[in-house]
Amino acid sequence: MSGVRLLVGTRKGAFVLTSDGTRDDWNVQGPLFAGWEIYHVNGSPADPDRLYASQSTGWHGQVVQRSDDGGDTWEPVGNEFAYDGVPGTHQWYDGTQHPWEFARVWHLEPSRTDPDTVFAGVEDAAIFRSVDAGRTWQELSGLRAHETGDQWQPGAGGLCLHTILIHPDDPQRMFVAISAAGAFRTDDGGETWRPINRGLRSGELPDEDREVGHCVHRIAMNPSRPDVLFMQKHWDVMRSDDGGESWHEVSGNLPSDFGFPIAVHAHEPDTVYVVPIKSDTEHVPPDGKLRVYRSRTGGNEWEPLTAGLPQSHCYVNILRDAMAVDGLDPGGVYFGTTGGQIYASPDGGDTWTAIVRDLPAVLSVEAQTLP
């Protein structure tokens, strides 16, 4: 029987949650790497037993771990992320120029076809690639070398490259997102990149058509329709129908269009999930009610999903990498909170159950569909 494996990164370690296809009962393994911040754990689509984890602390910096057996055993691999050439500078909070400094890996995205190839999105914003299963990392410096690079400015969470999407049919095409620079696309495997932010409106920016300076929180796609992208921006839920060439707002009737994660159903490319958050200053659900909102129309029309979710006195946040979908039928949806809950819905969001309630603050959730 097929099953699901959730890869959960938290402030104090990683957890691996497994269930069979019913998704009724879950085995919780962990904490792995106890005490370390695990920003992200992700599996190879080409080999589900090949996992990569980003492990870090303020004391000891970055470690990358690899598992070849689905998370039973792990091996530290390469942790040297050296910017290509002279790093140069980007814009700092006070408007001055600031040297690019590596802080941590936010996101690991394995190749869709080669388990030994994996991309890393890092802070300060850059993308690295390993083609030897994480042993060594090389920067794809065409991104950071873009002519706007010295204008990129960190968001409150740092100048982080947090989203990497690989086109399912054309691996030369990838999308990345950086807070608070915006979204970028390559069509040549990462050699060159260009901003894809046309149509984004970031209220305080005096120049409405500014090419960069947009705080993109997350981008999601359904692989069956890879030119349609959905974006949760700092404010606004956006949609592109042309691979990011242009964006239009689909926030519609959401109670707030601020939020962090966004996900697309595995089988229904017009079914999209967001978790509205009250505001950029309060980072809590509106009215103390934890509600996932689902659109089945590709945006604009949203319905609250509340069954099984706390509807009073709930003030957790859901971070940008902490929502995922599985590929089973019916499709499952999962998210983790800063309060340590992992919620699962085996029916596309209609009903929710907390798999665990008291983990450390959840930074990331990935769902692997196992044969």
Partner: protein, 98 residues
């Protein structure tokens, strides 16, 4: 042999429960001890000193013989008790954060 006591996170990373030993010859210094440590346990590269610059990470301290040697020159000889193996060289995670 120099005995090196690592903080818990690094002991876990290396896979040891107690001190580790490294051989650096006569007149060990911070630099030669850390070089030998990283050569013996490559997983420690980047976790005590930065890659490339070999600069000590901000929240790492070095203690030995009841003294804080963190700000001593990297090439200064370590105390004789450390060189003889009587006292360990301690890599310490500074108290910070939660």
């Amino acid at each position: 042999m120099i005995r090196v006591v690592l903080p818990q996170h690094l002991r876990t990373l290396v896979g040891v429960d107690g001190p580790v030993s490294v051989d650096v010859g006569e007149r060990p210094t911070q630099r030669t001890v850390l070089d030998a440590l990283e050569a013996s346990y490559p997983v420690l590269r980047g976790t005590i000193r930065d890659h490339g610059t070999a600069k000590r990470r901000d929240f790492i301290r070095f203690f030995a013989c009841g003294r804080d040697l963190t700000l001593e020159p990297a090439d200064a000889p370590l105390p004789d008790e450390v060189a003889s193996g009587a006292e360990p060289f301690r890599v310490v995670g500074a108290m910070a954060g939660g």
